[in-house]
Subunit: 308 residues, 2 copies
Amino acid sequence: MTKVLLIEKGERGEVMKKERRIGYLGPAGTFTGLAVHALFPDEEMTNLHSFPSIEECLLAAHQRKTDVTVVPIENSIGGSVSMTLDWLIHEVEVPIQAEVRLPVHHELLAHPAQVGQRDFEIVYAHPQALKQCDQYLRTHHPDIEQRPMNSSAEAAWLVANNPDKAWLSISNFIAKEIYQLKAIQSNIENNGMNTTRFIALGYEKLDLVAEFQKSSMIVSFPENELMTLYQVLGVIDKYDIKPTKIESAPMKTELGHYVFFIDLDTTGKREAYQLLCQDIRNLGCGLRQLGTYPTLEANLAYRGVGEL
Amino acid sequence: MTKVLLIEKGERGEVMKKERRIGYLGPAGTFTGLAVHALFPDEEMTNLHSFPSIEECLLAAHQRKTDVTVVPIENSIGGSVSMTLDWLIHEVEVPIQAEVRLPVHHELLAHPAQVGQRDFEIVYAHPQALKQCDQYLRTHHPDIEQRPMNSSAEAAWLVANNPDKAWLSISNFIAKEIYQLKAIQSNIENNGMNTTRFIALGYEKLDLVAEFQKSSMIVSFPENELMTLYQVLGVIDKYDIKPTKIESAPMKTELGHYVFFIDLDTTGKREAYQLLCQDIRNLGCGLRQLGTYPTLEANLAYRGVGEL
């Protein structure tokens, strides 16, 4: 199997090596795989478990089949990954132990045999990648058929295995190396600030050092009265804590009933955060704490390909 | 072409017939097609234009290729239709002229030749339908392969055209009739309150009569300071207006910058709503009004199939 070597340029992930089962949204070559490298740069990657869907990732975490599991939760262009939010709210109860933010650069890839092609027929990509690159596609390939795939890596695999087809994939630089494709164009995302947030879930704390801490909570309102959000924000304001995300999600009972997923910057505010939680409960709200955890800014650059 | 006749059981849609170009998310047999019937029950459906995607629907509305265009915006289980919100926020500026809420019941359909089949291999459905029926699928077809389709109607079409395949679709009762499939099980959605909201967009007012009125707005915050939402809700509270939805969406510039999509119940509050908008602008917020419009509760029952 090909091993891709990476050097990280941003904040460091965990420094200790452990024999630990790490689950992630695969296959090899996904952006989530990059997030694993960013979080655990020194880890021997011998116990990696890739899962084909976010549901299966979160189920493995919930059932303790993995010790830590990494999934995407939000992209700066595509917005929240609704499957992740949905499962955190309704299906599993696994705490968040870390967050890592990674720049996401997309490459338009072709099989080496198709590089001179002038009339590409299909572009395969993850739906989020299609969304994040829609301006480029509209301008340069307005008539190309866009086919959604479960992952950017699968899209690359498909193109690699069909050298006679006028197909393209939108994938990252790692998938390009793993599947030995050629870049028709690099950095085709709508804007250069394109970033994805990933979370690491599990029942054990991670030994990560980071400047900032976040806390996540899920809040529901008495009588499903949406205006209670006003009071909840009042409580947060009282403790001088800044929200970094306020997202509504369906309660799934009936239209107009919502829960809110709220992320807060709780750096140096551990005690205030606990008081705040109590105040929110005192409003009659349902509240579930999803964890207080370090948040890392990372970056990865390609260093070469070796044999595992 | 087969014509499906419907009787509506809820609030009535527009009573006047007009030669009007109606666009909707097709093909024939989609839930959005049902929403068109609910909004325009007396209309001669001779000028219907179905589009294969929400983007194309909204682009047609924007470019005045249609007079009114109907797209889904939210489901009680699946949540917001992010493509609709995304395009309303970032791509087009067409006012909302009506909302209609329709109960959504899903049927598990097979080709008549496959009804006795015990080992179905694939179920085709819209991703939202898969989400809305995931409990049934997990219980009754845990190992079936789920394949996402662009619409419930396309899924039915595919099953209808492959009588020798052990395939299923999740579609509605109209698609069942149009594509002459058999129901293996009716009402397989996670809960019976499953409802979808559709909006009708266009530059002309519609002659609709409804008890309630809604207003929709898109708000952005000075310096992208998320806590401004607290002040915005304070203003809404001051005018004693109830929000019915508060949804964040990515600004698409960088992670952590959001706009908010807010729906308000402005029944009998036309003047207060305008003052409220001014107050929100006075906070330094960006504000775009998406329209004040009647909101209808509808229901449809199958009456028979005729020839068009």
